[in-house]
């Protein structure tokens, strides 16, 4: 399995956040635009590439296919990774606030 932790981008992090509930590709794009108030816009090519990568890493699972659309959701491994990443970001934020 691929270890994505070292290269987890803002886009990937947002995709993981949106996949706490089952969604398809465009559903993820909309959800991320929604909770970031439009500041993170994910392109179709990026979402397709990212989902394949996250699936290969075992962080998300394909749950079903409906009208050509694959639906995905976080796996246990993905849920743990998301929690770890959130803690890491919180730590970095605290360091930044401490010296800024």
């Amino acid at each position: 399995m691929t270890d994505l932790k070292e290269e987890l981008s803002e886009t990937m992090y947002c995709i993981l956040l949106s996949l706490r509930e089952e969604r398809h590709g465009y559903g993820i794009i909309q959800r991320v635009a929604d909770f970031t108030a439009g500041s993170v816009q994910i392109g179709a090519g990026t979402i397709y590439t990212s989902l394949k990568k996250l699936e290969r890493a075992g962080w998300i699972d394909r749950t079903r296919t409906e009208e050509r659309r694959h639906y995905y959701v976080l796996t246990d491994r993905g849920t743990r990774a998301l929690a770890e990443q959130t803690l890491r970001i919180e730590r970095l934020y605290a360091y930044g606030r401490g010296i800024a």
């Binding site: 981008s9 990937m12 990568k53 296919t65 659309r69």
Partner: protein, 183 residues
């Protein structure tokens, strides 16, 4: 004139971005590809249309499924066709130029997919050239005297492809803070 055919020299559009730029220039001048096939890399049939700002995206994907197309179509892209495993999409726009690859990692992944394709074909061509030289020098085969021409042609195909592969794998991909444009 409502239709025309554009002919390209070899490696006229060595990267997806170059082909996108060319297609967008045609769109601005009122031309769009009529149909795409494997030959479109050297000759492309175009038809007249209303000049418009159109964003083209060239996505190297060998195996695509319905979900791939659905994701793009849901996001507002129209499928143009396939050109030697390059999936071509377009979208008319008025404001900011839309992007299909919005982060550094996916742009890098696109370069790597392209590099795989050029690398495999280029390496095979160079191996063919090398083999032809060996066979020619050793006078093996029926047309042993033709080996310089055949090896030369294969080398002419292989060397630029391998060079392009190296360039794609070494290319610096812009960071997100530098914007979404590939260079």
């Amino acid at each position: 004139m409502t239709r025309r055919t554009a002919w390209f020299t070899a490696f006229a559009h060595p990267t997806p971005t170059k082909l996108e730029d060319w297609l967008e220039l045609q769109a601005a001048q009122g031309w769009e590809p009529r149909e795409l096939d494997d030959m479109s890399a050297i000759r492309m049939h175009l038809q007249a249309t209303t000049p418009a700002k159109v964003r083209y995206v060239v996505d190297p994907q060998q195996k695509i499924d319905g979900s791939y197309r659905a994701t793009y179509e849901d996001a507002g892209w129209k499928y143009v066709g396939e050109l030697s495993s390059l999936q071509v999409w377009r979208r008319r726009y008025t404001g900011a130029r839309p992007e299909a690859f919005t982060d550094r990692q996916s742009r890098r992944a696109r370069d790597v997919r392209m590099a795989w394709a050029t690398g495999v074909v280029g390496t095979l061509a160079l191996l063919g050239a090398f083999t032809r030289v060996i066979l020619g020098v050793a006078h093996i085969g029926k047309s042993a005297e033709d080996w310089p021409l055949e090896a030369g042609i294969l080398a002419l195909i292989g060397i630029p492809l391998v060079a392009l592969t190296v360039a794609l794998t070494r290319r610096r991909v812009p960071t997100e803070s530098e914007g979404g444009q590939d260079s």
